[in-house]
Symmetry: C2
Subunit: 160 residues, 2 copies
């Protein structure tokens, strides 16, 4: 199936030449998930990155006590990507991603990704920039979360 149109809407992919985007499209796998499915599971090994093209997902983390909390909800209008960390560093999944509705994703694994950006470095620059900006947005959110939890801790200590 041709996902060319879905890919063209990603702001940073619009600079990739059409023929190079078509080559990328050939490497992408289409996946369908039912509501409630875990697309990614925290702590698992994994080397696949996903692009959400339809539906919405919850990003869920587990506290040290085993409690789960939703730290973000993403939907297709945001053109989100997830799983890019393990794709790049091959470390464990840092969060669970659960389908909140039926979801359609496109996915690529480390090997295909590296072969593609090696063959088409100009497209690789666009992809890596998109991934960098995604990570930066996550870090800035996490910084704010850390400040809020720290503030709650100090208030709790001072109230006693």
């Amino acid at each position: 199936m041709d996902h060319f149109k879905e890919l063209k809407v990603f702001p940073l992919l619009k600079d990739i030449k059409d023929e190079e985007l078509k080559e990328l499209d050939l490497l992408l796998k289409e996946n369908k998930f039912n509501k409630g499915d875990n697309i990614i599971t925290e702590g698992d090994e994994g080397n696949v990155m996903y692009v959400l093209i339809k539906g919405s997902v919850d990003i869920i983390k587990t506290t040290i006590y085993g409690d789960k909390f939703v730290c973000a909800t993403l939907d297709d209008s945001m053109h989100p990507i997830f799983g890019e960390m393990a794709l790049l560093d091959n470390d464990k999944r840092s969060a669970t991603v659960t389908a909140k509705t039926e979801c359609n994703t496109l996915s690529i694994d480390t090997k295909s990704f590296n072969e593609y950006i090696d063959k088409y470095p100009r497209a690789g620059v666009s992809l890596l920039k998109l991934m960098n900006l995604n990570l930066i947005r996550n870090i800035r959110v996490e910084n704010e979360n850390l400040k809020l939890v720290y503030q709650a801790l100090i208030e709790e200590i001072e109230s006693n």
Copy 2:
């Protein structure tokens, strides 16, 4: 001054062709800082990324109460880069970076960086991968910090 040798030690830059690394070198500015100087100040505007080639730095964040805490110390043996977030998204500096000793850095701004990776996309892929892996390492550390502060909060609440 020629920094070719300093750049060659970065694991992910070793794949950049020598002539392209020399072109990058021409764009890098050398900076010297005294012990105690702020190389980057949290909250400032900024579009410059730094490579630490000599010395060590503290990464310092400010809590909501204005307290400062050192969240990491980096030295030249780690070949660290910092400031890459604002280089890419032009948002405010997320932390202060203070010279813990005399420091020598190399730096590049957004405009030069984008022109370089546009001209040399293969080198751009190496640079962006290095930046991505750096961000991922920071996110994984921040995730652990968030879990620790959250744990302390729960323990504090339960002890009362």
